[in-house]
């Protein structure tokens, strides 16, 4: 099979690049102007697809091409209005805290997905081909539908170019993306620019949704699958750089087309991620990322300076009471609720260890991947080497920590969004490895038939109550160790370091190692949790380690707050309660989680923990004190 069809590669390259470009350029545009990554961009794309589907259903008998044209206008218009709404309601209020805006957009993404599931069902819709027919060019096949995608992308790029470089409003957009302060001084209305940018970015996502709707199936989760690619493209291109996004879209179009044509299509995710990691290792800001000031420093919010904390004794008493409550829990609960309890404990280890990761200043999206690695390590060590569960439990943690260190080395040089997005991509790639390397990891079925932990002290862990106590012991031990780490000198040093990395270097702190330490430590405990998870389920399946699961962990930390050790625990409690209360209407769960996140970011940015400590302080509202002179500009630049 050495007869490679070069023409087909070229055709696939063009159509893939067109799609990636169309989708990613909108994301890059929004980032350039608003400095925020819009996680819900994928859902705008999905809504474009549904717009086409709705119009098809509403206009039976109308020629397909006409419906298609109508959809190409109406879909993006509707989504653009939604985009402007999002700008007004979410991004504008959070413009001084871009990371908050990003988290809120993550919540929005889940809300939109849940709404789509409620309105249209989970099942994906396959649409008829809008523009049937194909031509042969030099031995390659080009369907007219793909030709339309390519032409559409080119037309959109030309229109965008014209808008940005030839119109007054476009110049304002460019000015705002270069320097917001200078743009303000020139009298540019940033609010209007923001609205305009969101409208254009959202419309572009919707256009690609309409164009691609009949190429790929329309489903509530199509956005999530597509945004992964868009992230890779904008990271490699350089966040906020439109030429960068186009270059990277061409690059990945080429790579993916070669891989697919040669029959390695299923490895595309893995190949792309490896390329991304390599690029990041050499260009931490992407290929064409604007060279930001080399010493720029993440924002320091001295927001709750002087906040009152619950005293350590009080926290200890509460923790003891909580542990006692959990110890008595199986006596009162039905078997179903004991199962819920076990999963709660596993989640508890996850959120506590996730907070340890966060203290170093980066929100990882790969924490569930660490859980998966722990679970897979357990499965492999048991089925291949026949080790005892008791040896496997810490070993699984160790394996996760080692993998964490391996991906941390390229990823840790990045900051903020880059860190989040690159861990997101790396996590997905590792999950794809589990699915694609069937011989090693068992493919989509995973590793079935794991035996429960061997008896210990005459206790059998087939019994769920005993397993609950096992999980409780592991959870309490992990919790105590991580708590000690949190109050230890190293833990406090890491938190301080994340606040001011320049100063930390100047006083002899090795920020890179400290970050890796926190990251690996978090991964270790997530890996142990994975071992417990596998042992409880009795199997390991890649489908358990979803983005939704990761979202739950992030949501717990956002809702609870991450300043203290107890915030994420509080958040997880709230999420679990929502989950159990809505057990009969479980499509509503992501909706409520998403709404809770958005609400928290907008109205209680310090999380529930902030509320609690405010109540403890018995001060209704702390006096607002201006953050003393722009501390975030701590850089050594003059």
């Amino acid at each position: 099979m050495l007869d490679i069809n070069v023409m087909q590669i070229v055709i696939n390259f063009l159509s893939l690049s067109a799609f990636y470009g169309l989708f990613a350029v909108g994301l890059a545009l929004i980032f350039g102007v608003m400095k925020v990554v819009n996680f819900a961009h994928g859902e705008f794309f999905m809504l474009g697809g549904y717009a086409l589907w709705l119009l098809l259903a509403a206009m039976p008998g109308v020629p397909l091409w006409l419906v298609f044209l109508i959809a190409l206008v109406a879909g993006p218009l509707a989504v653009a209005v939604l985009g402007m709404l999002v700008e007004r309601l979410i991004f504008e209020p959070t413009s001084d805290n871009v990371f908050g805006g990003f988290i809120a957009s993550l919540g929005l993404s889940y809300v939109l997905q849940a709404v789509a599931v409620l309105c249209f069902g989970v099942v994906s819709k396959s649409l008829p081909v809008m523009v049937p027919g194909q031509i042969q060019i030099g031995g390659g096949t080009l369907t007219y539908q793909r030709l339309v995608v390519i032409l559409g992308a080119v037309a959109m790029m030309v229109a965008l170019y014209y808008f940005l470089y030839r119109t007054r409003s476009g110049r304002a957009v460019r000015a705002a993306s270069q320097n917001r302060d200078a743009a303000l001084l020139q009298g540019i209305d940033l609010r209007r620019v923001g609205l305009m940018t969101m409208a254009i970015g959202a419309a572009m996502a919707a256009v690609s949704g309409v164009l691609m709707g009949s190429v790929i199936n329309v489903s509530p989760y199509m956005g999530l699958e597509a945004i992964w690619k868009a992230f890779i493209v904008v990271i490699v291109g350089g966040l906020g750089s439109i030429p960068g996004a186009i270059v990277a879209a061409l690059l990945f179009g080429l790579i993916d087309s070669i891989a697919t044509t040669l029959g390695y299509g299923q490895y595309v995710v893995i190949i792309d991620t490896v390329i991304m990691l390599v690029v990041l290792a050499f260009f931490p800001r992407g290929l064409l990322g604007r060279e930001a000031p080399p010493l720029d420093q993440g924002q320091v919010a001295a927001d709750d300076a002087g906040q009152v904390r619950p005293s350590r004794a009080m926290a200890g008493v509460l923790a003891l009471a909580g542990a006692a409550l959990l110890a008595g829990y199986p006596l009162l609960a039905s078997p179903y609720y004991i199962g819920v309890g076990i999963l709660f404990l596993i989640n508890l280890i996850l959120v506590i260890s996730y907070r340890t990761v966060i203290t170093m200043g980066g929100w990882s999206f790969a924490h569930i991947t660490m859980l998966a690695i722990g679970a897979y390590a357990t499965g492999m060590l048991q089925s291949r080497l026949g080790l005892s569960f008791w040896a496997i439990l810490p070993l699984s943690g160790l394996v996760a920590a080692v993998v964490a260190v391996a991906i941390a080395v390229p990823v840790m040089r990045t900051r903020q969004f880059y860190f989040f997005l690159s861990t997101f991509a790396a996590g997905e790639a590792i999950r794809q490895c589990f699915i694609q390397f069937r011989g090693v990891f068992g493919g989509i079925e995973g590793i079935p038939f794991l035996s429960p932990p061997e008896d210990l002290f005459g206790l059998s862990f087939m019994d769920t109550t005993n397993y609950f106590y096992l999980a409780l012991v592991v959870c309490v031990v992990s919790g105590c160790l991580l708590y000690l780490f949190d109050i230890s000198r190293t833990g406090r040093t890491i938190r301080a370091m994340s606040e001011n990395e320049n100063l930390s270097g100047a006083i002899g702190l090795d920020a890179f190692s400290l970050k890796i330490l926190a990251f690996a430590l978090g991964a270790f405990f997530a890996g142990c949790a994975g071992s417990l998870f596998a042992g409880y389920n009795g199997f390991v399946a890649p489908t358990d380690f979803t983005t939704q699961f990761m979202f739950k962990i992030i949501a717990a930390v956002v809702i609870g707050g991450n300043r203290s050790f107890w915030g994420p625990i509080l958040g997880l409690l709230v999420l679990t309660l929502i989950e159990e209360l809505l057990i009969d209407a479980n499509q509503l769960i992501p909706l409520f989680w998403g709404l809770t996140i958005i609400f928290t970011v907008l109205f209680i940015p310090a999380g529930l923990e902030g509320l609690v400590s405010r109540c403890l302080a018995r001060r209704p509202l702390r006096k607002w004190r201006p953050i003393s002179d722009r501390r975030d500009r701590d850089a050594t630049r003059a």
Binding site: L484, A506, G508, L509
Partner: protein, 252 residues
């Protein structure tokens, strides 16, 4: 003690530092002056590893330290402050200094991670040294105040105290007097001279000519990235090139 040789740094087409060579001898107060944008802060960033040099070498005690990362430089006993106030805003003044005592640490990494007694008692010791240092700066009663709540001038002084906590032999100060009132300026200069008498070496960037002329043993002048002159305060105050550079900028 510190010697730089042909140190060069370009930002795009701009020559921020152009083949600068000079030496700082131990136990002196060395001044680094020059008009705005002449490359003084860039010099600091190159020496302390915050920016890579395009060309040239940095020698510390005869050892080539070019290109080492900042934390390695700091551990060798070379401390710096930042032109803007820089501290850990959420921590108290004492906590700031304790964090900065990292180079004094002797307890094991495990003890520090698990909050064991040896680490705790060491930290308490560092707290006491911090208090002693604060005494010297007349800030003893501010030890438990959060850094963010201090007035700007005091934060600037805290920056100097942080640098001193790192167990340095040479301290590089980037405009420590900027933003201080007259009383604070005099007080800080007295402290700095005292430190120098105790054997510390200082490199001082400053725009306050009077302070610089009074305090320094030697002065180096930069202009547009090139070394313009070097000598004692008397020589510099009479140096025609220096006078022209300063007058030139005032006219412009």
């Amino acid at each position: 003690m510190l010697r730089v040789h042909d140190l060069t740094r370009r930002f795009g087409r701009l020559m921020a530092l152009d083949h600068v060579s000079f030496e700082i001898s131990a136990g002196t107060i060395h001044g680094l002056i020059g008009p705005n944008g002449s490359g003084k802060t860039t010099f600091f960033n190159l020496v302390t590893g915050f920016l890579p040099a395009n060309e040239g070498k940095v020698f510390w005690d005869g050892r080539d330290v070019t290109g080492l990362p900042p934390h390695r430089i700091s551990r060798l006993g070379l401390a710096r402050t930042f032109q803007n106030t820089s501290n850990y805003a959420r921590l108290t003044v004492r906590e700031n200094l304790v964090i900065a005592s990292r180079n004094h640490i002797e307890s094991s990494a495990l003890a520090r991670m698990l909050h064991l007694r040896s680490a705790r008692s060491e930290e308490a010791r560092h707290g006491r040294s911090a208090d002693a240092l604060l005494e010297r700066f007349g800030m003893r009663d501010l030890a438990d105040v959060q850094a963010a709540q201090l007035p700007g001038g005091t934060q600037k002084i805290l920056g100097v105290a942080i640098a001193l906590s790192t167990n340095p032999r040479l301290v590089m100060l980037d405009e420590p007097l900027a933003g201080l009132n007259t009383g604070e300026k005099a007080q800080l200069m007295t402290i700095l001279r005292g430190l120098c008498a105790d054997g510390l070496t200082l490199l001082l960037i400053e725009h306050d000519m009077k302070a610089i002329m009074q305090a320094c043993d030697r002065i180096t002048v930069l202009s547009y990235g090139t070394l313009l002159a070097e000598g004692t305060p008397e020589e510099i105050s009479r140096d025609p090139a220096t006078i022209k550079a300063y007058l030139g900028t005032e006219v412009a």
